[in-house]
């Protein structure tokens, strides 16, 4: 068995180069005035932290948390019943029906965002049905978009936990006198919690850090943290402040990840 250990060494080198090195670099950039293009001498400075209280950054942080939080909550409220229904479905084509929920992922995400954008303008193909929406720039547009994009990632982990659940536990609970609702809240739901946690993280993360989606569905009005990072790195060249925001985002994500580890020891419900 130990003869195969060496096979993991190249990966360790590769990951050190592409995960650990850039992380060090980002930390360095965020607490110094290092110029990434010239890589000259640098000095320790906390200048980048001033950007954290910039009005647009503050608004973006609030927007990210608020919109992704609500979108995740909506996804959970819709996704749990869907996962429950699919897991208890008795159909010959069950796997097919379940896998249909991930097909949209094969469709280009930007195009799906554009499709929503087209529907949300007053002049749209919906006019054919006598409907005219004017949602661009509203939170509702972003929330619908996020829910539509990330709902599959909420449904699948919950589904896979519910599907694997030992049915005899449910029968036992009923035999012992619990009603349907009691059984659900005392047996089924607590046992499906690891799926709920995975689903929540997999919905929360991409919606919190999205940048094309809010940009399109708000007509450029609503900024999320992803828009700030993109702006700093690609447009205004403010690499140091962009790095600081990125590293803070990464810390938040790692903390969530540690939370997940408590439910799922080796991170295998991730896919």
């Amino acid at each position: 068995m130990s003869k195969l250990k060496k096979l993991s060494i190249p990966y360790l080198v590769w990951m050190s180069l592409l995960v650990i090195l850039p992380t060090i670099l980002i930390v360095l950039l965020s607490v110094t005035d290092l110029d990434i293009f010239t890589l000259g001498s640098f000095q320790f400075t906390l200048d980048s932290f001033a950007y954290l209280v910039h009005p647009e950054v503050k608004i973006a942080i609030v927007n990210s948390i608020r919109l992704s939080g609500v979108a995740t909550l909506i996804s959970f409220l819709i996704g749990y019943p869907v996962a429950y229904y699919l897991a208890n479905m008795k159909s010959k084509n069950k796997t097919l029906i379940v896998s249909f929920i991930i097909i949209p992922v094969w469709s280009n995400m930007l195009l799906r965002i554009i499709a929503w954008e087209k529907l949300f303008y007053p002049n749209s193909i919906l006019n054919m049905f006598g409907i005219s929406l004017d949602l661009i720039g509203t939170d509702l547009a972003i929330l619908i978009g996020m829910t539509s994009m990330y709902l599959p990632f909420m449904v699948l982990p919950i589904y896979s936990v519910l599907e694997k659940m030992d049915r005899s536990l449910i029968e036992a609970s009923k035999d012992l006198g619990a009603g349907t609702i009691q059984t659900f809240f005392k047996v089924i739901f607590p046992l499906s919690l690891s799926g709920v946690v995975s689903g929540t993280i997999m919905t929360l993360l991409p919606s919190m850090t999205a940048f094309a989606l809010p940009e399109r569905l708000s007509g450029g009005k609503t900024l999320l943290i992803g828009n700030i990072i993109e702006d700093y790195f690609m447009k205004t060249g403010n690499i140091n402040a962009g790095s600081l925001i990125s590293i803070l985002l990464m810390i938040v994500i790692i903390m969530m990840f540690i939370g997940l580890l408590r439910f799922d020891k080796e991170g295998e419900t991730l896919i």
Binding site: I36, I78, L111, L151, F211, I253, E266
Partner: protein, 273 residues
Amino acid sequence: MMNILKIIGKFFQKRSLAFITIFAYGIIYLPIAVIAFLSFNESSKSYIFTAFSLKWYGEIFLDERLFEAIVNTIMVALISTLVATLVGTFTAIGINSLRKRNRAKMMILNNIPVINPDIVTGVSLMLVFGLLPISFGMSTMLLAHIFFSIPFVVLSVLPKLKELDLNLFDAALDLGCTKFQGIIKVIIPSIKTSILAGALIAFTMSIDDFVISYFTTGNGFQNVSIWIYSRIGRRSFNPAVYSYNTLVVFITIIILIVINKLGYNKKTKGMIR
């Protein structure tokens, strides 16, 4: 009387669950339906449907930049999937034979790109590639795609490896196999469905990626996502991309149905997760 009420209640419960499920599929599929609808639109305007037409399907091959972007997307996806599947499989075999503590550490490292927001991964890779003596373009995008695909292959293969009895491998060595032969002839055949599943995930991630590609490309090298992003709301946005997308979705559905049918005949499990 109470019994009847209970039955109605139960019926309604199931009905409402079914209703929510249909609603969920509806909001997930609506944008795809809109894209398909627009791909058959004679007009290039997206707010009015003038007549049914297949002209945008022909346009896929006539718009040089778009066609090039499609070729680039498929090429990057194929190469990165191939490399990531190979490397990921061997890496997973290595990780599987580590001691518990080291294995957990490797898995944390492995999961960072999975859990990290795309935008942070994109920015990180952009910074590292900037230090390397390579110019941004296909090579950097390809490296990025290989990078984010490997962890998914590892995650897909590892659970199956854990179930595998490694004494079989030792037996193969005792019987005169080299280590490499042992891996190829004993380990790989018993984990091939998870390798395939991992490859499928890697391919999906690559073909749909926008954010990481956006940060790691350069010198005008575009995949479909970048082609779209650079043209949204411009005149050069060719509705032929709707046709391309509709074809991709259509082919995916066909493949899925075929796999499902085969799966039933052979009773193989684990093809679709």
